[in-house]
Symmetry: D2
Subunit: 309 residues, 4 copies
């Protein structure tokens, strides 16, 4: 499909891009280090199928933490709200996304929410399937359907790179296993988790996923309910309260839309009832969010009154 380049959007991108040099590309995952720090692209996808863009929206990025929204949707579908929230909390946290301290101090041990690593690992653990391959295919399949792009796959090099350096996630997993939150083989779970993080797509794909969320889980073309509306609502709520790591509160005030970022520099956004957003800008701020992407969303929120609040 074709997305029209929009001049007004390009002006905002040019403005936002200036902040890129204050950020830096993620360096703890070797495969991400190669990204071009100056990149900033955006795609807006509307329910009627129209689409506006600025920058090279066909450039690939990996989902990273953005995948946490998708796996949450699957787990809620597979297991139901009660099962999921008995094992993973619903509360935002002031701690960093990879923190372990609260797992020790909270009794019983329970990840605070599904958007921090501990919670996301527990959620991925809940995805049903007879093998890692099968479970991974279910994740990939949903992403293909949400984006209407069957060619989406994962970047094996990135997955392998993250698998090798995932010791902090292993530490979180064994802590969760000690406390009975997960009970599968840790290496297997890390394998599945690093693959989901390495799913590769582009801004256009992201904006189409955002559009489905904005429309409460219904594909605007086919009118197929790809995600139950109650599940879509829960996903969007977490995107507001915990979607931007521990800058979520500030983001809610300054932008005010459901959004989820990843350390690759991607941002998935959903303006309820209006349109979906896909952004790629690999220079990160110190909290791990795309620095130019955040700036761009602030400019857009002011100009187009996007805030839900």
């Amino acid at each position: 499909m074709q997305c029209r380049s929009a001049e007004e959007l390009q002006l905002l991108v040019n403005e936002a891009k200036k902040s890129s040099n204050k950020g830096k590309v993620a360096d703890y995952i070797p495969a991400l280090q190669k990204a071009n720090k100056d990149t900033l692209s955006i795609s807006l996808f509307y329910p009627n199928g129209s689409c506006f863009s600025a920058g090279d929206i066909k450039e690939n990025l990996t989902l990273q933490s953005i995948s946490k929204v998708i796996t949450l949707a699957i787990a809620l579908n597979d297991r139901g709200e009660e099962y999921v929230f008995n094992r993973v909390g619903q509360e935002p946290t002031g701690d960093p996304f990879n923190s372990i301290a609260k797992l020790e101090t909270n009794k019983p041990s329970k990840p605070l929410n599904p958007m921090i690593n501990a919670g996301a690992l527990a959620v991925t653990h809940m995805i049903e399937g007879s093998s890692v391959d099968e479970r991974f295919k279910r994740i990939l399949k949903l992403i293909q359907k949400l984006s209407g792009n069957e060619s989406i796959s994962y970047n094996k090099e990135v997955a392998d790179s993250e698998f090798k350096t995932a010791d902090l996630n292993r530490s979180l997993c064994y802590f969760l296993k000690e406390h009975g939150v997960i009970d599968e083989d840790v290496e297997q779970l890390i394998d599945l988790y690093t693959r989901q993080c390495a799913i590769e797509l582009n801004c256009l794909d992201l904006s189409r996923i955002g559009c489905v969320l904005a429309m409460d889980g219904k594909d605007p073309y086919t009118e197929e309910q790809l995600i139950p509306s109650s599940v879509a609502r829960i996903c969007k709520t977490f995107m507001v309260t915990c979607g931007m790591y521990n800058a979520s509160g500030e983001f809610a005030i300054e932008v005010g839309i459901p959004a989820k970022s990843g350390v690759s520099g991607g941002i998935l956004g959903a303006v309820p009832g209006r349109f979906g957003i896909g952004i790629y800008g690999p220079a990160l701020d110190e909290k791990g969010n795309s620095i130019a992407g955040m700036k761009l969303l602030k400019l857009m929120s002011e100009k187009y009154s996007l805030s839900m609040f």
Copy 2:
């Protein structure tokens, strides 16, 4: 003014009330202990001036933590966003509302948000005025205008009782003073803070305040902008991300509206663009929220699709 008793609302109240016996009335503030555990009343106030109620909506309650929303509005007005958020953060926290630990571990020391006690004390400190009396009158005045009720005052017995038992808040204040977040006399600040918490009104008043917030700060009658719309938006955002103590995330998922609770059992709610809510139910759950009030809002959110998400 008159509020019509609504049969449908009364049925939901009857259902919600059943959970009261699982809660308990706040006992750490002596004056609050006298409350009747079985009370549950609600008022809904609409921009067109119509009003629906169930239960005795003229029964008085004190604002307690609900007052944090009002003082935030004044501080933002007095000092501007930049000043306020340089001193108090915008991030939700998984810690209890009266916790001090994060003030020590976060460098520089800064309360995480204006809805926890440390942040609210820092915000009250920012309210301008030449004396405690003058500053307090400014708070009271705004509440009188928002509710259209000039007879609202504060309960001196409750304020005195809280002043005497405010040692934890004093501890927070001195910690903040050590780190330069506040610089006034602590006893003076505690005096002002306990008075603001002891402001006494009823459900109807609360629902009118909620209605003004729902209408972005504009009085629906007089069309006077009582709070700048940008300030009203920030207040509502904090009500979503941190309004219900460390049950805010769960509340966002299960109810999905801006709301703020107090340990007196009051809840102030705002359904954006639609109506304001005032609830009084003094039996609290273990996180400090009105247990029957929470249940009532869940029932209403499902029945009337109130969620913003």
Copy 3:
């Protein structure tokens, strides 16, 4: 060798034994659950080779955390003080022995001392050798020499049982690996660590090890310096400041000798210049120390003025 039963000692044992029923046998390691809660035995070993005992001092127990003293001695010998203490701290902690929180909050991440699990794992990691078998043999060999008992080996059933349930230690290891404190394969390190914890001996053996420590590392018979005196001194210092988990401070006040306990119910003690102590009493208090063993040492310290302070 023969150890004379001592009537006076037996009276103290009888008195101390009464507290056993307030304790409970460790249940998180399946193989330890079988222990008899009422057991209490003690052996005192003197440099001149005389020995006094009460209870069945030939009953076997596994070393568990007592082994941390031995591996520390080897690591200090293998690597030197500077190397060891650059990677593991020297400070006591008020946190439980298996806590992970301080690894996250302390920058750079470094276990506080070699007597908590995180520190002990880092120390075992430092023991040189070309394979787990070889490294384990070096630990075993030293224990055989210190106790003069070449028949000492390890209990494979206990080691296997602990290996299977060591998820919390795995979590600690991966956290340490993430921060570069260890760099070997975690399963391999856990294998070595659980074997060292499962080394099996009796009270008499323990008391002979204690005697060598009391004599600054020199075997009182052969006059062979089994551990350099500077290393023996460091080991005894840690036994005073951190030997009894987070009851070490209380133990220093009430007993006042270098001692190290294990969750099997064993205690290794060294009265500097005087004699070694071996105790076995599997009923534990809530901090993980032998409840009757602690009581016995208090009675002895008062009666025989054992305190160093």
Copy 4:
């Protein structure tokens, strides 16, 4: 009395002094900032009345945290072990001396030991007397007797300066008051506490106090038991496990004697059965201990085998 200058000691002082330039004088108490960074003096006092010194041992310093040992002795005497240790713990901590976090996380709230500020404030609270003046005189009187110097008083300028800047200690006090650990007026307690910290003496005085502790509380001249021996023993134990802030563990290994430091740069030491030590060196390391004083004690411990371990 006269103290002989000792050439050998002077050589060690010269060596230790070199580290002074890596430290810095305490700056958070204005009155301490005036100290001369290069100062290093030491006095050794023996039970037979002989005395050796290096540097200007008549220069005055304030006790600061060293006073915690004296007030603990009085509280143990006034209230008994059980009363004191029901309110203040006996465990060393890895946290800084002025930390508040553990008061919140430990249930029930209880300072970990009497050498951190929270514990010392609770101990001073226990000192009996009908007024601050009377209680302070009891502290001063004991110090005069221990040092045999009736002219010792306190530095009002330092006390006033600390009283004004004691907001962190006020925060600790109110937290303790909230939890019932203390119940007196906070300003009154801070008044007493800042006076005890400002008691002014010199190295010679300190070394005589150390000598009495080394002799289990008995004045070597008059043979009067100034402190019960059981109390002296407890004080020395805390000096080993928690005397040098969160460098106590390292100090136990490298020096190995009971000692207590203060942010004025003073160190009180007691070599059991042998002699007392008084040191003054105001340049501090990052943990708050006299940097040259620590170095000097290390050199002495090696040369004269002072370690108890």
